[in-house]
Point group: C2
Chain length 175, copies 2
DNA sequence: TTTTATTATGCAACTATGTGCATAACGTTC
DNA sequence: GAACGTTATGCACATAGTTGCATAATAAAA
């Protein structure tokens, strides 16, 4: 359901074409729920089929038609239901941790490379977060509650990533 | 691949029946990679089909046969390959965060309930972690490196969970 | 002027995971 | 002695996500 929910949220304020939605999604919710463009187009079509969206086709000469999607009342209802009902716990899936359970067979060199590469990714993520914070949230005091909410998610992302970095560095040192 | 990897790790030291494997898995790797018993049985059969495991059927009268699985050389090789190659980054999927992007439509009461329930789950997880630490890792100094490794994962789990708890409590207070 | 990136759509096949159900013996609790 | 939990296995169907490919115009860079 969550991809649906993400698209409902993206379309909630204003209608848009598949590509519009893709762009909005990339700018915001994609940091929180990753998906490919193929997945979005497919899901939009299914949601239309299920009556959550209407789709108006704007014919264009010498180009594929643009399809403008819009929430229906059923779509708005589906979003509200999703928001109202508590989420089930999401499964833990950390393949990196799994490797730790095979420590004896994990060659030392591979391990070092893995951890180094991993730390690099984490640091890059922190850089991305900092850029987003700079661009969108440089004046936290002036934010409305609704604007403030995604900022919370950003800050948690930052803290979790920092926790990871500290841990990786400790493991690397000890080893 | 990761479910396979998890099973290869579980079977690496000694052979076992599906149910044995399930029990070992629950005691360790399940904290790091969740899966159902149906998934395990299915995957074990597929791995046998792919030549990673051998399966010896022990017939039993008046009961379903027990199937003892064992790593083949190909299986051991597959595990080593998996350990040697770096993991691709796992996709971020946090439905709870998605809700924050629909703050205006998220009813206050539902929000409070969600956050309260979520905090409760986190605290329960911390309790579980503490129990595991007590039972398996009460003397960290005496651990061999291979025993020490899963302890690292436990400690990261604890720290990440604590970071979550702090965040949830801040959000709840501010709200 | 050829190549490359961007805009704009999507299908088909595959892999992975989840859900519901089924069977059947044994031991334990009400 | 009936009901429930544990041991022990799995199939079938459904949902979710990945990968590879395809088309085709326009703008920008080489």
């Amino acid at each position: 359901m969550s991809l649906r929910a993400v698209l409902l949220i993206t379309l909630q304020r204003e209608p848009g074409t598949g590509y519009d939605i893709l762009q909005r999604f990339k700018a915001g919710l994609a940091h929180v729920w990753q998906a490919s463009h193929q997945q979005l187009y497919r899901e939009l079509d299914r949601m239309r089929g299920d009556g959550l969206l209407t789709c108006e086709t704007l014919p264009q000469t010498e180009r594929p038609d643009r399809k403008v999607y819009q929430l229906t009342e059923a779509g708005r209802q589906a979003l509200d239901n999703w928001l109202a009902e508590p989420l089930s716990t999401s499964p833990v899936r950390q393949p990196m941790f799994a490797k730790f359970f095979a420590w004896e067979r994990w060659p030392e060199e591979a391990r070092r490379e893995e951890l180094t590469a991993f730390r690099k990714q984490l640091k890059e993520r922190l850089t991305t977060y900092a850029a987003i914070e700079q661009e969108w949230f440089s004046n936290p005091e002036t934010l409305t509650p609704a604007q403030r909410a995604p900022w919370h998610t950003l800050r948690l992302g930052q803290r979790l990533t920092k926790t990871w970095v500290e841990w990786v560095e400790e493991v690397m040192e000890e080893d």
